[in-house]
Symmetry: C2
Subunit: 190 residues, 2 copies
């Protein structure tokens, strides 16, 4: 039973017979490490009452959105000023990018992880110019015993697909990504 400030979600990958409202898979690519089985649809269950697994699914990935782990107050103010909501009618493209970080990342202390994340990789600062075109939500999976540590979810309009590619390429080029040991990139449309 999750408290109101926590938002659990389950992403279920399956066939065309998956529940109504599922996103259509445009491509699914293993960027690093083991792939996920190819599926035709992804259904996103957000909030209480979400199933842990779904019979129709080839896979189900669970996560919980909650408090920020690295963002500082000054950054929060900047982000809030330009972050768009999810579910905009024009945002008919989405990306689900599950990520796992290496044991060496998790062995770092908080100050060391923060330094890699922002002072050296500029994860927040260099993402800001891409807002408000791209909406995002981060789900945490690590403490759930899931195969990934994070499920990152993005939504954007078709005309901003190029900007999204640029953002993803930028993040992947930075020191932080040296600690990513599994990543799957799933592009969706509805």
């Amino acid at each position: 039973m999750y408290r109101s400030e926590l938002l659990p979600a389950v992403f279920v990958g399956g066939g065309v017979d998956l529940a109504a409202g599922a996103w259509r898979v445009e491509r699914i690519q293993a960027v690093r490490g083991d792939p996920l089985p190819v599926v035709e649809r992804v259904h996103v269950h957000v909030g209480a009452g979400t199933p842990a697994t779904a019979a129709a699914g080839a896979w189900a990935l669970r996560g919980v959105a909650g408090h920020a782990r690295y963002v500082e107050r000054a950054e929060r103010v900047q982000l809030d000023a330009v972050s768009p909501p999810l579910d905009r009618p024009e945002a008919t493209r989405a990306a689900l990018i599950p990520i796992r970080k290496s044991p060496s990342w998790w062995a770092l202390m908080q100050d060391e992880r923060r330094a890699v994340f922002e002072e050296r990789s500029r994860h927040i600062a260099d993402s800001l110019p891409f807002l408000p075109r791209i909406a995002r939500r981060l789900y945490h999976s690590r403490d759930l015993g899931e195969p990934f540590d994070f499920l990152t979810w993005f939504e954007y309009a078709p005309e901003h697909a190029g900007a999204f590619e640029e953002l993803v390429a930028l993040l992947r080029s930075r020191e932080e990504w040296a600690y990513v040991d599994r990543e799957v990139d799933i592009r969706l449309a509805r």
Copy 2:
């Protein structure tokens, strides 16, 4: 399925018929917020294959020990130099203290939570003098949808019970504890 650097645990409270190896409850006290049902024994399941619940239990609390969320490298070095292991033969007293923090704590950003935790409440610095007498491990429960955010576990020898009371009183007197909205203190012996 948890990766090797993560350690899941389940604490099961129940009657005298609980599994062999259970700790005997000396007292159980609601410090703030709702109590937990009074039990006679607490069994600690650590590691893979732990049950999510136990038939014999009046309650079961789950958590996962993993990476530190606030500790910086310099503090880690100091802590490692004096932190004793769990399961010392002489440590026949233990405390299980489940804690929940308020929505206002979780609405703070990382820099704000760190400032309350250490710069203003000196959680790490003022705990150091109590080591190596008191062994501890912190389990995180929040992302699991559990009723508490943390399960704190302590072990000490009977002659250090006074020192442990002093440590607990010190932490409860600080600003950090203004954000604790539920706390139960369970004292155990074996």
